[in-house]
Structures are given as structure tokens and as C-alpha cells.
Symmetry: C2
Subunit: 607 residues, 2 copies
Amino acid sequence: MPNPDSLLARAEHLEQLRAAMARHGVDALIVPSSDPHLSEYLPGRWRGRQWLSGFTGSAGTLVVTQHIAGVWADARYWEQAEIELAGSGYTLMKVPAAASLLHIDWLAANLLPGQVVAVDANVLGLSTARLLTEALSNRGIGLRTDLDLLDEVWSQRPGVPPGAVFEHVAPHAVTTRAEKLTATRAAMAHLGANRHFMSTLDDIAYVLNLRGADVSFNPVFVAHLLVEPNGATLFIEPGKIDQALQQRLRADGVELAPYVDAAAALSALKIDSALLLDPRRITAGMRAAVASQVKVVEAINPSTLAKSRKTAAEVAQVRDTMEQDGAALCEFFAWLEGALADRANGKLTELMIDEQITAARARRPGFVSPSFGTIAGFNSNGAIMHYHATAESHAVIQGDGLLLIDSGGQYLGGTTDITRVMPVGEITADHRRDFTLVLKGVIALSSARFPRGTRSPMLDALARAPIWAHAIDYGHGTGHGVGYFLNVHEGPQSISQSAMPEPHTAMEAGMITSVEPGIYRPGKWGIRIENLVHNTIYATNEFGHYLQFETLTLCPIDTRCLDTSLLREDELAWLNNYHSMVRERLSPLVSGAALEWLTARTARVAA
Amino acid sequence: MPNPDSLLARAEHLEQLRAAMARHGVDALIVPSSDPHLSEYLPGRWRGRQWLSGFTGSAGTLVVTQHIAGVWADARYWEQAEIELAGSGYTLMKVPAAASLLHIDWLAANLLPGQVVAVDANVLGLSTARLLTEALSNRGIGLRTDLDLLDEVWSQRPGVPPGAVFEHVAPHAVTTRAEKLTATRAAMAHLGANRHFMSTLDDIAYVLNLRGADVSFNPVFVAHLLVEPNGATLFIEPGKIDQALQQRLRADGVELAPYVDAAAALSALKIDSALLLDPRRITAGMRAAVASQVKVVEAINPSTLAKSRKTAAEVAQVRDTMEQDGAALCEFFAWLEGALADRANGKLTELMIDEQITAARARRPGFVSPSFGTIAGFNSNGAIMHYHATAESHAVIQGDGLLLIDSGGQYLGGTTDITRVMPVGEITADHRRDFTLVLKGVIALSSARFPRGTRSPMLDALARAPIWAHAIDYGHGTGHGVGYFLNVHEGPQSISQSAMPEPHTAMEAGMITSVEPGIYRPGKWGIRIENLVHNTIYATNEFGHYLQFETLTLCPIDTRCLDTSLLREDELAWLNNYHSMVRERLSPLVSGAALEWLTARTARVAA
């Protein structure tokens, strides 16, 4: 999506921004890719970095001085950023994937003692603020966080999204709001706190069994929540919650207050309060609003831990949802194979895949929306990790090769996220080797057992080992947590080499996590195979509790791409068992071409 | 080893210590298990914790207040500490293995604001000091680091060890002192430093190609080293280096100064100095000695990185050393099997094993000393991870079961560390299963390939996965770095779940690391299989440089303990290939019973 504002407009905004900086005595301004809720997907109001620079990537930080204007972005976005920033006056500053705070080092190195950096505390994470403060103060550089300079130059800035909030109800919501509030208060008491303030939208949606549509893909709404011993206050724009829902919230002790009053409520806390805050899930601005006499307890939001550990009833819902999602995929893939057979006519595009897969899901009960922008990448586009076909830019599927499709759905009974790769026409031995190595990675991790409490990053190497064995690697994490009709990316677990294995990353029963190794050959093809898996108890003995994964995702893995000579006997058995289960569970839900496709694609593979 | 001081003497020392604390207004005293060089093995002078409490374990921290005297120790030492501390007035405070700083939390929680904690800055690591300072100051508790209260009560305290220092020379030392000093200065310049102060004994021994015998097992000597642009000063007790060696050091620009003058030299640095210090490898006392105008650059000691990356010539020496060590082991095991056949006479003890294995090594060229205290544990003693048979306490080997032997040698051409387990009489299916699972762990990690720069802790799960698969785990790290005729435990790599995967833990070509998974069944048996492996380049391609392990250790793994039904074909092939190599390389070096033993124990195993 090209920036709607012209180069001229962007140059003008930059000039105005520098004038505002000069007025306030600011030497460098940071505009992070962030909002007051530290969200992954930002409402328009907080896409200031995009509005200023034209760079639309989902991660990246803008820094402006009187002489330099730059966007710090990692390798996933370099190609896109070069195009979008061309002629804008902003320079792309390339950073390694795992060094998202490198602009801080740059500021520390390039500013002089006595100069002043500004960043709006309302969109600055507290833990990031601490790193920034330390780095700058070590060099004698000042930091102001009380200015929202963007507001001074962005005349048409959007407001807070006005969309309606709705309730997540039984049978899909299996734990009541009252139960979740009770559990939250118990966790607070355990930490010595009697107040708890939350800003992260999925935490709030989880605790209150509410959902919204304020951003794409994640069914959340913009709000803050203060939980107190005998009640709770939801800070939210007026008009988003109707009278009937207000009544039901009140019955559970939840009162509404205007969104803008959240900080004032923190300032007004009684001094005998003990306030629980999560420094990774709250802004520096909110922290600063807390009266200095109030005791602050810092810990991970209890709801972040609680919502990651799905209940048995939630997992039962997810299993049903996976059957519906799998059935939709059978219908989609049956259509796709037909369309591929006719691809010589040049009418099949990546964009049509996106449309058809969403349409197939939309016919299924409980479907709400896609859970992220579909990635349908043919050959070299499959090697671009965050590729998204658009009306303006997408490939026609012609010729031979590999087609990668990463998609997912939000359903009332769970969130799905799946990647499959299929052969188009004739494929080569190199395609087959790469595909089979990725599958070996999926099998190795999916079959693993490990002690409860194992730090999730430590499992990453299990999926990589079969790929590393051929001197190949992939530049992304192996697995992320997935919400329950909530964010498709959620913590606290992270099967990734760039995550530090801290205590909160521990694997616990009930967690749902993606398993998605890959191989990417720039300019040639990309392969990723992704399932969601669920932590179940395998055994309990003198060595403790042991977990294993239940694979939740139900969809054939295309065996036409295999080099079976690379599979061990136990790996082949895993694949055949998986396909038996997929066939058994999806057959009742599909018919006709979809059933034929399912039957063909789950056929037993011999060594 | 029971404490030589009586309970009465220890009570008296504790009383005197509390009187000294009261004199100085100190409410709590910390005596860490540490010396001015942050060593693993402490010279007698710095074994204050042991002298006071009677607890002889190699890790543990003593804390004394007017009301409580405690020793904080992890699970490895609980059994031993309970016995040694009984009746001493000191309480065992149990801490989890990975929480060696829990006494800090205890002090923060149990002292009142305004009270004062004392710890001698001369034996307090700088990075630990920072944690301590933060934890206490957050609670308004004071910290004094300028007192050595131990000195006031320990009248017979030993001095600094007087032993002679000798030179590590060619062909075993393959890089000259001049070359190492040049490389150190280049690394300093790269970090923007022109001075570098080192306190860690293995770093100093490495840079100067000097060795000593001031502590058991590690061939190091007590000293500090200051490297400057045109020279270096070695701070060392007079008399440890003879005239001839002084001359040779002087030729390389290294002058001697009294050991006690090191801090004063830091205080006297010119203010235009830029001093490189490693906060994990220097005491708070030395840091405090640096004049405040001097610029301090903090980074890992360049020699810590350099010495971990063995040169090709060093690895060639290690291969020769491994052949000698393996030949010694053949002779030892041939003797042991004969002695086991006669075990009914009740004369074979764990202690004799220690003596015989050391005697066999001592007959080999280049042998200097054991590289650590031999662990020879039969059945339940094998399950005690840090078991060491002593004259006072050791088992007679009678009956059936498993015998675990963990031993190693210091040779001029390298340091060895190996664990093997052998069957005694009839063993059970449970013994075989556990043994085979541990072997599978060794094979999985030893066969791994991975990108250069992979953080070593991330590899830990590869060795555990086959053991986890049976809901079993082990409570220690999988692998540690090993020095070149230096410390048997060295960094910066660490294949361990308790190590944070920080940048300095990256795997690099030339590193030598142990691979040593295990299974321990308290009261029953312990199994550990340990080899040393060497990081070699496997491939270089568009994905980067890939490493693989060369197994350096040469000694049969007892196939009489196997349950071959648990081994995959590729695992059996690994074992047979390993045994072919062991037989081929050791056969020329042994004869008679040792050769017969080697031939029998390396026989091919069929599926």
C-alpha cells in the first residue's frame, strides 16, 4: 500500500515537525511503532511513524533530528522500506532482527551531552523507557517524555476508534467474567497487591470476556482496566458499550469511565494502595501518573499467564474449531488444485487465493474474521517472510514451483494459524529436500516431551537441528503463543532464539503454540509448515511433570513435495498417523471435491 | 573431610566474629565462596566460609547476623552440608541450583532499613556487587565493603600460596607470549582501551604462557596482570618466579611487582588512560581502586574469548594427549575388570579406583596432575553428583550394579575430562534403559550441526530430548568449556539451561566443550557419559558458517550396558564408528591385557 500522502506533503510535515522540535528545545524525536496499549496492530491514531514517513511495515522506529530523519527497521522490511521511503527525506537504517532498540545506541553515540531527546511517554513501554533513560543519562543527554509533538503537526489525526464492543459468551467463553476477576484478585493478593492496572488490550478482553474490532485481525478494543478489591473500572471511549452490556458488566462490579480518565485515576489512588503493574505491558506515561506514595509491585500481568493456559473446555472448543477450519481448508484446496490445473490461462493470482481462503472460512460456523493478513506467495514471493499480496502488487501463478499459504481465522471458539506449501506443476529435487527438512523440523518439535517449566526458547533448537544438519537455517522464531479468540501472537511463551529464557517463558499445561520452521531461498522459493500444538501432561513421576504436544491443526501436509529417502521410519510413521487423524476427523465435515481432495492428500506414504 | 576444628572452636570463632561485627556496627556479614581472583578452587587463605562453618563444599555462601548464622548451598551439597554443619551453630539454607544469589533476597527481606551489611570488596565480584547494592539500597539497607572482618578473628590464616611458577613452552605452548600480548593489545584497541587489568588466574596464565600449582587441579598461580601499550606488570608474591624466568618475561616487556601493589597501580593510572575491565572477572575492590577520572571500558576479557578458541596446533596437541589419556584408561580399565572379577574378597574400594586411574595417567608422557578430584561412585554413590571417595568415607565394591567413574588429567598438551559407566556383575533392564538413553543424548548432541554463533545454551535441549522422551531429566548442565592445560571448567560457552544465552556464549570454531548428559536415581544408581568435543567448520554457504563437533575423547563406551532395541540405526552406526576410531588410534599405544580389553570393548554391536 503506497502512502496516500504525496512526497511533498511528507516533506512539509517533516519541516513542521522540526519547527515544533525547535520550539520546544528538542534535538531528537523518537516516534516508536507503538500505542498506549503496546499493541502489535495499531489503530490509525497511533500510526504516526507511518503517517510521517510513508513506511507501512508493522515494526520500525522513526528518529528525527534537525539534520537526519531515519526509520530503523529490521531485515524483514528492508525491501519494502527502500521502496516506500524513496524520496521521502527519511533514510532507512538497517538493524539486525533481534536488535530492535539499536536506535537508542545511535542516539547515545550521535548526540552531544546536554542535548535533549523527546519521546511521548504515552506510547513508550516502561521497560523500554528504563533502557532509554539509562543509555542517554550515561552520556549526559536529556530525555523529555511529556510532549506529544505529533499532535502539533498532524491536523487530521484520527481519534480513538469508536467501534462497538461485544460480549464473548458461553458456550465459547467457558470461564465467567466473575471467575476471571476473582482469579485476578487472588493473583494480586499473592503478589501483595490490592490494585492492578492493565493497558494491554488482549489482557483486558480476556479478563472481561469482551471483544471488539478496533484494529485488524485481533478482536480487541481500546481501553484500560483498573481492578480493585471490590470492583473494577474500565476506561473506554463513551458509546462503545451499549446499555444492556453496561448492565451486565455492572452486575460483575465493573463500572465504566471515560478513556481519557485512566491516568487521573492512577494519580488519585489512595496512598495505602499496593498497585500491581507489568513493566513490559504498561507505558512510562501511566507509570508516571501513579502517586509517588503508592507502593508499586512489578510482575507479569496475572491474566497474561492465565490466558496462555487454556482450560480443558477451551481446548475442546479449539478442537471443534480446528475441524471447521480444516474443513474450510479442504474446500479451499480442492478449488485451488482445480484452478492450478487451468493456470495456463493466466487468471489465477495470489490475491484470489486470499479471497477464496477467507470465503471458505466465512462459510463455517463461528467464523469472525481472518486472524492476520493472508500470506500467499508463489516461488520467490514465498521467500519474503512478511509478503502480503495486494490489489496493487501481486503475482499471477504461472509456470512451476512452490506456493506457500499462511493464513488463519478468528472463530468464537478459537484462533487458527496454519501454513502449508503445495507443488505447482513439476518441482525439483531441491524443492523436495527443503520441504522434507522443514517437515522433519516440525516432526522433531511436535514429538518432543519435556519437563513442565522448561523455558520455551530452549526448545527452539529441536526444530532447527534437522535443518541445521544440512547447513541451512531460517531467520524467524519457531513458535509463538496463540490466543483463544484473541491475538494470534500472544505470550508469554516463545519458542525462539531471540527470546531470553526468563522464568515467565516457562512451558505450562494448556498452552497453545505454533510450530513453524521454514527454509527461505531469496529469489527462488520459501517453505514453511505450521501447525498449532497444545501442551498436555504426558507423565508425572519422581522427575516431575512432563509435557507433550497435541497437534491441534487439521490439514494435510502435501506429500507430493516429499523426498521420502530423507525421512526416518519414525518420522514417516508420525506423518501417516497425522494424516489418518486428519482424514478421520475432517471426512464427516466435507463432501464432493473437498472430500476427494482430503482422501487423496491423506493417503498413506510408503518408505 | 570433616572440619579439623572442633565444634567448640567454631562456636568461639562465631562469637568473636559477632563481636567484631558489633565493634564495626555491622548487622550482617557475608562471606562468599570466593577469592580476589573469583576462582573456582580457592587457596586456603580464602576458605573463610569453610574455616568458620566447617562446610567444605566448593560452592556456598555464609551469612552471619547477631541472631542467625547460615550457609546458603544448592541441592548438590545438602546431604554433605547437613552432616558437616551439625551442631556448628550454622543453619543450612537450601537454595535451588540456579539461584546462587538468593541470600541477597534474604538479606533484603530480613534486615531493616538503616541496618548495615558488610562484605569484603576484595573477594566480591563486581557484577555481584552491583546486584547486591541495588537490592539493599532499594530497601534502605546500608552496605560496607571496606572491612575484612575475617582477618580480625582468623589468627592462623594462611598466606598467599608461595609455590613456584613455571613456563608453558613449545611444543605444547604453540602461541608465544609476545603474540598473545600483541593480540590482547589489538583487542583492547578495538574496544577503545589502552590499559587492561586482569584478575582471573586462567586468563593470566594463558596470556603469559605461565603455569603454577597454587590450587588443586587447575595449574594456575595467584597474581594480577596490568597490560599497558608498551609493557605489562605482573603483580605476584616475591619468590614465585626465578631469575631466569624473570629475564624471559622482561624480554617480552613483562615486569614484576609485589602482589599487594595491584590496587595501588590502578589508583595511580594516568587520567588519560582508558582501562578495559571485565565486570564478571574482577572484584568490586579492584574496580573501586581505579581513579575516578580514568575512563573505564567494560567488556569480556579478550583472553577469555581467545583461549576458548583453540588453535589448530593446540587441537593437534590435544588429539595426541587424548591418545595418551585413552591408553592410560585402557590400562586402568583392564586392571579394574580383573579386580572386579575378584570383588567377592571385599578388597576393591572406590578409593583404589581413584589411586589406580591417577597412577595409570602418571605413567603417560606430559602428565602433570589430575584435572579434578576423581569421582568413582558405585550404585547409590554414583547418584550423588559431586561424590568424592575419601580415606574416611568410601564404599567397598561388592555385589552387582553400575560403577560411575568421572576423571581427568592435566597434561602439558591439554586437559582431559571423561566419564564412563561400567556394569558390575549382573545388571537389570532398568540399568540398560537409563544407560542407553544417556548414550542417545550424547549421540544427539555430538552429531549436531549448527550455525557458528549459535548461543551455546540453546544446544542443551538436543542432549536432553531423548531422555525427556522417557520423562526423565538430569539436574546439571550438559557441557562446559575446557582449557588447554588450564582450568577444566572454563567459559565463555556453556551448554546449560541455567546459563542465559547472551552474546558471549556463542559457539565459535576451535572451542572444546564437554558433552555429559546423565540420569540419577537417588539411592539406586547414577549414569553419566562424558566426552570432550571440538568445534570444527562443517560448511560455509549462503546461510553462513556451520559448525560440527569432532569427538576428541578416546575410550570405549561400555556396550554391555546397552539396550540396543532403544537405539536407531543411525545411533548404532555412530557408536560403531566411534569404537572403530578408538580402537584404531589407541591400539598402537597399549599391549597385553590393556590391548585385549580395548579390542573386546570396541567390538562391533549388531542391532
